[in-house]
């Protein structure tokens, strides 16, 4: 019996192929699952970041530092502290930028519906919601040991006119995010000292109002 099994290589190949088939077709799906199972999922994520921007045709990298807060159902607070203070707040309906005192920029979703799409993507990126990203982006990547890497490219050609690619990498936490826009600017954000919580503090809640 055993002999005949070895003796008929054709049959063995078919068997292998049959076994391999589900793995092939679901490799992408599994990758997402893998990453999701590794990532810590939490309603509130706080941490620090270092951002390095490489603008197209400009040699000097622009480095900045700050704190961030990603809260499910609220949005994102992105506080740049060095080299200057600038706070960007992303909520469902708007993008608001202040220098801590006065408003620098405000984009309203009711006026510009793209705000919603952009905010949705950024929230997914910063909170590590790879499943949500997979709905609008094609992706590939790998997960080895504790590490994983994913690269997303927009499926929609109009979105591609804004974002060229998103690259996420990490272990339990997201370690880095790289965003490349259509103009060729690359923003690399490295995260540090992430902490997780179930709820926002009262003070933090106020900042989202």
């Amino acid at each position: 019996m055993k002999n005949s099994f070895i003796a008929v290589p054709g049959r063995r190949a078919v068997l292998l192929l049959l076994l391999a088939l589900p793995a092939l077709c679901c490799a992408a799906e599994n990758l997402l699952e893998e990453v999701r199972s590794r990532l810590t999922s939490s309603p509130v994520i706080r941490g620090e970041f270092q951002q390095t921007r490489k603008l197209a045709q400009i040699k000097k990298p622009l480095v900045s530092h700050g704190r961030f807060l990603v809260a499910r159902n609220y949005g994102v607070l992105w506080e740049n502290t060095r080299p200057f203070t600038q706070i960007t707040r992303l909520t469902h309906g708007e993008i608001l930028q202040t220098d801590g005192k006065k408003t620098l920029m405000k984009l309203d979703a009711s006026k510009e519906p793209v705000v919603k799409i952009v905010n949705g993507i950024l929230f997914s990126v910063l909170s590590g919601d790879v499943a949500a990203l997979a709905q609008t982006f094609d992706y590939h990547g790998k997960a080895e040991g504790k590490n994983w890497q994913l690269e997303f490219t927009p499926r929609d050609k109009n979105l591609a006119q804004m974002i060229r690619a998103l690259r996420l990498a990490g272990e339990r936490d997201i370690a880095s995010v790289e965003m490349e826009n259509a103009a060729g600017d690359v923003t690399r954000i490295e995260f540090r000292a992430q902490t997780y919580a179930r709820e926002l503090s009262a003070d933090e809640q106020k900042r989202f109002e």
């Binding site: 197209a56 400009i58 960007t88 993008i95 519906p113 793209v114 799409i117 609008t136 006119q161 826009n181």
Partner: protein
């Protein structure tokens, strides 16, 4: 006598020849003329002579709007809405419709919104392109603030877009591109043009028709496809809603409606005609003769409108169908004179001719009044009516003497009629009669005091309420500008015109900020004037110091901060873009050295705002409120027709005085009372008076006087009463059927005429001459 007959024979032969030619022409050209019948809503509207450019504006709007078809599929969930839209697209895939925007090519289609326009096109001109907000910011910005703004943009983590920081350090160009996107709330999402509103996700499918929206065949095919698609949608996506908008849909509904009405009124009138004529005269020959007269009328009417007008409106035919009841009167009058009469036919005809002439004149004049209005549709109806009744009358006059039987048997009911007439109340100069008259006067006065007028343009359209609601919803959701109100601008050059637009827009901005209007659409938004571009560049010169500081900080090449002379965007280059919004509003050089364009408004809701906007007019800027203009025009013509009516009431008695002398009051008292009572009843019933109800009163006057002349001609003979009764009944049948029309104006005409004719028919015998004072 002999020469009379010879001349008459010549006329009859000539008329016969004419009719035959008309019949042949209409028969062989039937395919051509039936293709010229349409239900174009705009055909009913008058051309505005005050603004020659307005005609072009209207043409431009209708030319691009007419062929468009917008479908909105909405669902509470975005992906379901998208799937439903895909199914809808698939089900319409093999129709002749061409999709615009959507999956077919958003990037190169302006309908999809400015943000998706090729930023590449505007890139070389970017220094002169600034949004209104940035222009204002630049006025007060310090060099330090400008530097901070540029740095913030450089460091901003989420900067997205296709323009690099180096090319647009202050973000002016990006913001300007962004401001273009306000043209539409639709954004591409997952391959569809989507928008979210009130918790529902709408996917828009924008189509262009392959031909005219008024092509009946196209309409039918389109409606069938859409109905099938809607049914399929309902099965597969029960939660989805489909909204449709497009001129073709309304035209299709109007065509369907008008055809049904034409059939109803035409067949109803004809049936009533044959039934009554057959019953009363009990002669197959009489029926044939009535048919001859009606067919001649129809031939002449059709020939006239098809040779005078390029397009014939279906409503003309609907209205024309109601003429059957009027045109048959002449035949009936002649038949009535033949009842039990043994005089030679020619003798009788000679005596009848003056009466026949008079009864042709009154309604023909009334219909001609309609031709005085500047409404092309109404003119057409007038021509159709006058030619129709003239044709019917001519055949009666030309052919009947040869074709009539020597005598028609006196029907039994004629005696009964005579007896009825004996018992009919008769006006006597008694206290009781005056008392009744006083009561009637009080009733009339009470009604007249409650009468109100309505000159709404909508009375000319029989819009399907469901479709109208859908259309309104689509316009609201897609935030499309209304073409009914607009600014029309003119200038001596393209540059001057753009500058005028910009000045006007500066005035409009506070209204947008205050929420009075939602926005505006103008060519200059896509193509700023050269003066504006130069101004923007000059404004940016104060940023030279900031640029130098930035160049140092970012370690850039020295020449980056140097001023470069980029080209200005010229109107020629700007208009070469395939941008539908901009091109549609730009009328260009309408006359040598005269340029014109439109500025359209979005979300104009209140009359007060419209009144405020009307104040923005200035040199080369006029405010066009087509709804109001047409209503004003209808009001003007309602008044003109009222004056005509009053003049007719005064002149007709004078004209008829030589024939009737002091008895002339008997002709007019009943019809005047009938007219006034009709108005009073309308007042009590709260039916507003409009242009066409005044016309109906003119018709009532014409026909009422006819009846009185009939009666007077044969001194209230029973058969004459029979003839009047028959004529009135048939007229009533036609107008009564017209009162069922879905077109409010025709309904008003039908209602008023029905009421007026009934009353004058009832009242005429009241003022008959008594047995004692017969002439």
């Amino acid at each position: 006598m002999e020469s009379h007959v010879r001349r008459h024979r010549l006329l009859a032969c000539f008329w016969l020849l004419l009719l035959l030619l008309a019949a042949l022409f209409l028969f062989f050209e039937r395919a051509a003329w039936s293709a010229r019948v349409d239900a174009d809503l705009l055909a009913l509207l008058p051309e505005d002579e005050r603004h020659p450019a307005l005609k072009m504006a209207q043409k431009a709007i209708s030319a691009q709007g007419e062929r468009q078809l917008a479908l909105l599929v909405s669902a509470p969930d975005a992906s379901r809405a998208r799937q439903a839209a895909r199914m809808l697209r698939a089900s319409l895939a093999d129709s002749a419709l061409t999709e615009q925007g959507g999956a077919a090519g958003i990037a190169d289609d302006a309908a999809a919104g400015g943000a998706w326009l090729p930023a590449d096109f505007y890139f070389p001109y970017r220094q002169g392109l600034m949004s209104a907000a940035d222009r204002e910011w630049l006025l007060f910005a310090t060099p330090e603030e400008a530097r901070e703004r540029a740095l913030a943009l450089a460091y901003a983590p989420f900067a997205s877009g296709s323009v690099s920081w180096l090319d647009d350090p202050f973000g002016f160009f990006g913001n300007w591109l962004q401001s273009l996107a306000e043209a539409t709330p639709l954004r591409p999402s997952g391959g569809e043009l989507m928008l979210e509103r009130d918790g529902r996700f709408h996917a828009a499918l924008l189509y262009a028709l392959p031909g005219s929206a008024f092509d009946a065949q196209l309409q039918e095919a389109l409606m069938a496809r859409l109905d099938a698609a809607r049914q399929m949608l309902q099965q597969e996506f029960p939660e989805a809603r489909l909204l449709r908008a497009g001129v073709a849909l309304h035209a299709a509904a109007a065509t369907r409606q008008a055809r049904e009405e034409m059939r109803l009124i035409g067949m109803g009138s004809l049936l009533a005609c044959f039934l009554l004529v057959g019953l009363v005269f009990q002669s197959a020959r009489a029926l044939k003769l009535v048919l001859l007269s009606l067919v001649s009328g129809a031939l002449v009417a059709f020939l006239a409108v098809f040779s005078l007008f390029a397009r014939v409106h279906l409503l003309t035919l609907v209205f024309g169908a109601s003429l059957i009841g009027v045109a048959v009167d002449y035949a009936i009058l002649v038949f009535a004179q033949h009842l039990g009469n043994t005089e030679p036919v020619w003798e009788r005809f000679r005596r009848l001719l003056p009466t026949l002439c008079m009864v042709l004149l009154a309604p023909a004049l009334a219909y001609l009044a309609l031709a005085l209005t500047p409404f092309p549709g109404l003119k057409q109806m007038a021509i159709f009516a006058v030619c129709g009744i003239f044709g019917a009358w001519m055949s009666v006059v030309c052919f009947y003497p040869y074709l009539l039987p020597q005598t028609l048997p006196l029907p039994r009911n004629a005696h009964w009629m005579g007896r009825l007439l004996d018992h009919w109340p008769r006006w006597q100069n008694s206290g009781k009669a005056w008392g009744l008259m006083f009561v009637l006067a009080v009733f009339i006065l009470g009604g007249l005091l409650q009468l109100r007028a309505n000159d709404d343009i909508r009375s000319l359209f029989a819009g399907d309420p469901g479709l109208m609601a859908e259309q309104g919803e689509v316009l609201r959701v897609l935030q499309l500008p209304s073409p009914a109100q607009m600014f029309l601008l003119s200038a001596e050059s393209a540059e001057q015109l753009l500058q005028r637009e910009e000045n006007l827009i500066e005035q409009l901005r506070p209204l947008v900020a205050a929420g009075k209007i939602d926005g505006f659409e103008a060519t200059s938004r896509w193509l700023p004037s050269q003066a504006r571009q130069k101004e923007n560049r000059a404004g940016q010169e104060k940023l030279a110091a900031s640029r130098k500081a930035l160049a140092r900080e970012m370690e850039l090449a020295k020449d980056w901060a140097e001023k470069t002379d980029a080209p200005l965007l010229t109107p020629e280059a700007g208009l070469s873009l395939p941008m539908r919004q901009a091109a549609a509003l730009w009328l260009g050089e309408t006359h040598p050295g005269k340029y014109a364009s439109m500025v359209l408004l979005k979300g104009l809701r209140e009359k007060e705002t419209a009144a405020a906007l009307a104040q923005f007019t200035g040199e080369g800027i006029s405010w066009i409120d087509q709804t109001r203009d047409i209503s004003d025009l209808m009001q003007r013509y309602r008044r003109l027709l009222t004056q005509t009516l009053l003049a007719a009431c005064l002149l007709l008695p004078l004209l008829l005085y030589p024939f009737f002398r002091r008895e002339v009051w008997r002709l007019f008292a009943p019809v005047l009372l009938a007219g006034l009572t009709t108005l009073a009843v309308m007042g009590y019933l709260d039916v507003p008076v409009q242009m066409l109800s005044i016309l109906a009163l003119l018709l009532t006057l014409g026909m009422g006087v006819d009846y009185a002349i009939f009666l007077a001609a044969r001194q209230t003979h029973a058969h004459t009463l029979l003839a009047t009764t028959l004529a009135a009944t048939l007229t009533l049948a036609s107008f009564g059927l017209l009162a069922l029309s879905a077109t409010p104006a025709l309904r008003a005409l039908g209602l008023t005429a029905t009421l007026g004719v009934t009353l004058s028919w009832l009242l005429t015998p009241v003022f008959r001459r008594g047995a004692g004072n017969q002439r």
